[in-house]
């Protein structure tokens, strides 16, 4: 299964982002992409060629990127502000906080090459803090699509939704999670990819696929796993988490992000406070957050970094096995 990922026939979610945007732009001249010398990495070169009037380039100036995007959005443009996640959510954070979220300008902030996608370019180019900070800022939905299907759905929704959204993308070609996508995609509703009662693996973005691979390994070992693509980090699908907590003996979260402040802690704090919620009693299962630890990130390619920290088929399989054997 592992080699499939590199198969040419799959597309990167970002390509689907670009294709979807091009499809939408045909009928809607209000669709606008804003870039900061990032159209190449954003796969938006064809968009720029087809819709030059709907493409705004601001140069290497991410603060201005977001400010301009907010201004455009306030005039009815459906804006996609596209730049590497590392710069967008750090260099331009205050613009996201005030010009987009607080001022409620419905910009779709598109963080590309997120997490450790940039691999050996190092920590200046990694975004391990973006879920954490976006969760702590009010009035912005936080979404990390896992496969091409979720990407197309998310972009269509984002173009329709008149609200600030942060969408996070990696770079890798992504295989489909399901053969038939018969489910309804909505922000704030996790997608159950496969079901099993021993462990719930809650993953997001590009980590859902290795989680699914791990579920297959676990099945061979007689461990039945539920795998959820929790594409929306905020608002969190707490109903789903609560129901899985009732059903499963253990829960593991997986994200290409710091273990602090992201999906894992969102689940942990919800579960810890569940005793106070209407949904039911206090959680007593085993729980583990898989992500990038708080250390100088190991150097190497994205895959090497992910493998190093166990955000991989093998790593997730091992973590679950250990957790259940406790």
């Amino acid at each position: 299964m592992a080699d499939e990922i590199n198969t040419k026939s799959y597309k990167a979610n970002l390509e689907i982002f670009s294709e979807t945007l091009q499809r939408l732009a045909v009928d809607d001249t209000n669709i606008v992409a804003v870039t900061s010398d990032s159209r190449g990495s954003g796969k938006l070169v064809p968009f720029g060629q087809k819709f030059p009037e709907q493409m705004v380039e601001v140069g290497i100036a991410e603060q201005n990127l977001v400010g301009v995007a907010a201004g455009l959005a306030s005039c009815g443009k459906k804006v996609f502000a596209v730049s590497p996640a590392c710069f967008l959510t750090a260099r331009a954070l205050e613009q996201i906080k005030t010009d987009v979220a607080y001022s409620n300008n419905p910009v779709n902030v598109i963080g590309i090459s997120a997490g450790v996608s940039y691999g050996a370019l190092g920590s200046t180019h990694h975004s391990l803090h973006d879920y954490a900070v976006m969760r702590a800022i009010n009035n912005i939905t936080v979404v990390a699509p896992a496969d091409n299907f979720e990407t197309a759905q998310a972009i269509e929704l984002a173009a329709k939704t008149n609200e600030p959204v942060y969408l996070r993308f990696g770079k890798k070609a992504m295989p489909p999670l399901k053969e038939v996508n018969d489910d309804v995609f909505a922000f704030g509703k996790g997608r159950v990819i496969c079901e099993g009662d021993d462990v719930a693996i809650i993953a997001t973005g590009e980590t859902v696929y290795p989680a699914l691979q791990a579920a297959a390994r676990l099945k061979e070992k007689g461990i039945a796993a539920t795998v959820v693509s929790m594409h929306t980090i905020k608002p969190l699908d707490t109903d789903l988490i609560a129901s899985l907590a009732k059903k499963c003996k253990a829960m593991v979260t997986v994200e290409e992000h710091s273990i602090y402040g992201g999906l894992g802690e969102a689940c942990a704090s919800f579960l810890m406070q569940l005793g106070n919620h209407s949904q039911g009693g206090i959680w007593s299962g085993a729980f583990k957050i898989i992500g990038i630890p708080d250390e100088y990130t190991v150097t190497g390619s994205q895959q090497e970094i992910m493998d190093h920290y166990g955000i991989s088929e093998a790593g997730i399989t091992e973590t679950v096995t250990t957790l259940l054997n406790k």
Binding site: V58, N64, V66, G67, V68, S74, K77, T98
Partner: protein, 304 residues
């Protein structure tokens, strides 16, 4: 698109292609100027009133930009409570958001909300807080962190170009605010996109919180900086409504270039003991000071 609406003393609520600037004939003009001068004084009185009421506020900077807001809202901007949801309205985005008192007083006078609302300033659950937010009718954008107004304004002006709309975009910046790099990023984009429908106004009162601007982080020569960044520059006495009217009338200064007005102002303008005094940046007058200030402004009115 190069023709700015200019409605001295008579607001139009819909956009009028108004090539005929001769309407500014002598007598109308004099009346209008007098009315504007009266308004400036009355705005200043109210600014102080609501700052004292809220026990907080940015006094010096609100008084320095009063005349600019006065001229903009009464004679330049095509914006009103009635057309505020129209995509064709002119936009005013106050980058120096801390001087919200000046904005609120002017918006109330324009009928965006009952002036009485301002008695709730800074109170629990009031939307009349210490910086502009869109919860208050008439406010275009939430500002307060400096250096945000110009980038947003570039987006707004760019949208006008894309949609072939005639509205103009104005933004007001403080001189202490100018070192924020986001301003210069936006300045470059405005020039790149030839946004001659955009006008930035610098409230150059030469003071910020700590010290005179030149001692904190000088941006002189200011005209040279904006010129080098591709803008067309004019300087004006920013406390002279007549001079302001003239300069706004000449917008855009050059076709194909964004315009910047360097408005030389006096921080604390209109109240003798506040003028050019650092400590009045966010000073709140005592009862005695308040009374003296009101008296001085009343005197100015009779002396008009």
């Amino acid at each position: 698109m190069n023709n700015y609406p200019l409605n001295v003393g008579q607001k139009c609520t819909t956009m009028i292609e108004q090539k005929n600037t001769e309407m500014l004939t002598g007598s109308i003009k004099e009346t209008s100027i007098r009315m504007l001068k009266e308004k400036s004084i009355s705005y200043r009185k109210k600014i102080l009133q609501y700052i004292v009421g809220a026990k907080a506020g940015h006094t010096g900077g609100s008084l320095s930009c009063t005349d600019i807001l006065n001229v903009l809202y009464n004679s330049v901007l095509n914006v009103s409570p009635e057309n505020f949801s129209s995509p064709d309205r002119d936009r005013y985005i106050q980058s120096k958001g801390h001087c919200v008192e000046a904005l609120f007083v002017v918006l109330a006078d324009q009928g965006f909300f009952p002036e009485d609302d301002l008695n709730t300033m800074c109170k629990y659950k009031s939307h009349y807080i210490g910086h502009p937010t869109k919860k208050v009718k008439g406010v275009e954008q939430n500002t307060g962190s400096l250096g945000h107004g110009l980038p947003i304004s570039v987006g707004v002006a760019l949208a006008a170009k894309m949609d072939k709309k005639d509205y103009k975009t104005y933004t007001l910046l403080g001189d202490g605010e100018l070192p924020e790099g986001s301003n210069w990023e936006a300045a470059l984009s405005a020039a790149q996109y030839k946004l001659d429908n955009l006008c930035a106004i610098i409230d150059k009162n030469n003071l910020q919180i700590t010290a005179p601007t030149k001692d904190v982080c000088s941006t002189d020569p200011l005209d040279k900086k904006w010129e080098a960044f591709g803008w067309s520059v004019k300087e004006v006495d920013g406390n002279d409504v007549e001079a302001l009217l003239e300069v706004f009338k000449s917008l855009p200064f050059e076709s194909g270039k964004p315009s910047v007005i360097i408005a030389n102002t006096i921080k604390g303008k209109g109240v003798s003991f506040m003028e050019n005094q650092l400590k009045w940046h966010h000073g709140v007058p005592s009862k005695e000071q308040y009374e003296q200030a009101q008296q001085e402004l009343d005197n100015a009115l009779t002396e008009l």
